[in-house]
């Protein structure tokens, strides 16, 4: 059976109650995953605070933290959260090119965040302040890099989604995945609020 163009259009873009419910259920399931991820981060935060003064003769947090650099990272990630939101708004309006455009902007901002973080890590390691140096540095690298790993996975996910949008268009399953991607990306920004407050701001007080 073949479909005319308008039938195809209707099939692809008309709301399908079953599909909408499937998307809603999948979003809720993904929300439960995010909550469990939250508990993973909480245990790393508790570990970090416990070890935050265990310098073992190594550098203190005041010596390794540069707040200007952290503020830059924070603003870049915050902007990427908003551009990700704009991609979602474009998705609901079926503006395929705009979705791709905003996702590309979000990707560049996410990549900038990761390069800033890597820069910080590499300069610490180069100065001999790697994760093996003290309890404080182990906890610092574990917490901050776990967040960074999540962001990196988010970047890969974004590339996959951009390829899917380009190949399959904004079909229901693609939209459903984009909704979960945006939840993941916003969640990472919330975790970063905890990281910059507990590790960086509180660290230099």
């Amino acid at each position: 059976m073949s479909m005319s163009a308008s039938e195809l259009q209707h099939y692809l873009f008309a709301p399908h109650p079953e599909e909408e419910e499937a998307t809603a259920n999948a979003s809720f399931g993904f929300w439960i995953y995010l909550m469990s991820d939250c508990i993973l981060f909480a245990s790393l935060f508790a570990t970090f605070v416990t070890l935050s003064r265990s310098y073992a003769g190594g550098p203190t947090s005041q010596e390794i933290i540069h707040l200007g650099h952290t503020l830059e990272e924070t603003l870049v990630l915050l902007c990427s959260s908003v551009t990700c939101g704009f991609a979602m708004l474009a998705m609901y309006r079926r503006q395929l090119r705009r979705v791709l455009g905003w996702l590309a902007v979000t990707f560049v901002l996410g990549l900038t965040f990761i390069s800033l973080e890597l820069q910080e890590f590499l300069s610490l390691v180069a100065a001999g302040h790697g994760p093996t140096h003290s309890g404080f540095l182990s906890a610092f690298f574990t917490l901050v890099a776990t967040h960074g790993t999540h962001v990196t996975v988010g970047l890969l996910w974004m590339l996959v989604m951009m390829a899917q949008i380009a190949v399959k268009g904004l079909s229901e399953p693609v939209q459903s995945r984009l909704i979960r991607f945006s939840m993941f990306w916003h969640f990472l920004d919330i975790v970063w609020v905890g990281v910059f407050t507990v590790v960086y701001l509180n660290g230099v007080l």
């Binding site: 979003s27 909480a42 508790a46 416990t50 959260s81 919330i190």
Partner: protein, 108 residues
């Protein structure tokens, strides 16, 4: 008719994202400026930056993840509140035990 399905992603608007962004930037800058300028006492700054962080998390949840008290979001909020309880026990309990141990033994 089924109950409205749970959904982790209500739809935002351009205005809601911009409002969230402006509030988040303001809260971030307040926290950084307070620490960099050392305008308040140690205790005052600590309370201020942690309060700003809590408010900023709520701003992100509301304006970016669109969580509210509507029935479609009810189970998401329930899961969030349950997670909050677990976090409180996990983080609060760990820190209580470990700092107490530190005070009594000075082992780490």
């Amino acid at each position: 008719m089924l109950q409205p399905s749970p959904s982790g992603a209500g739809r935002g608007t351009f205005a809601s994202y911009i409002t969230g962004f402006v509030l988040a930037v303001a809260l971030t800058l307040i926290a950084f400026i307070l620490v960099m300028s050392k305008a308040l006492s140690f205790a005052g700054t600590t309370v201020a930056i942690f309060s700003a962080a809590v408010v900023q998390v709520v701003v992100h949840l509301h304006y970016f993840l669109h969580l509210d008290t509507s029935s479609t979001e009810r189970w998401n909020v329930m899961a969030l509140l349950f997670t909050g309880t677990v976090l409180f026990i996990l983080v609060g309990g760990s820190l209580w035990i470990m700092f107490n141990l530190h005070d009594r033994t000075m082992l780490f």
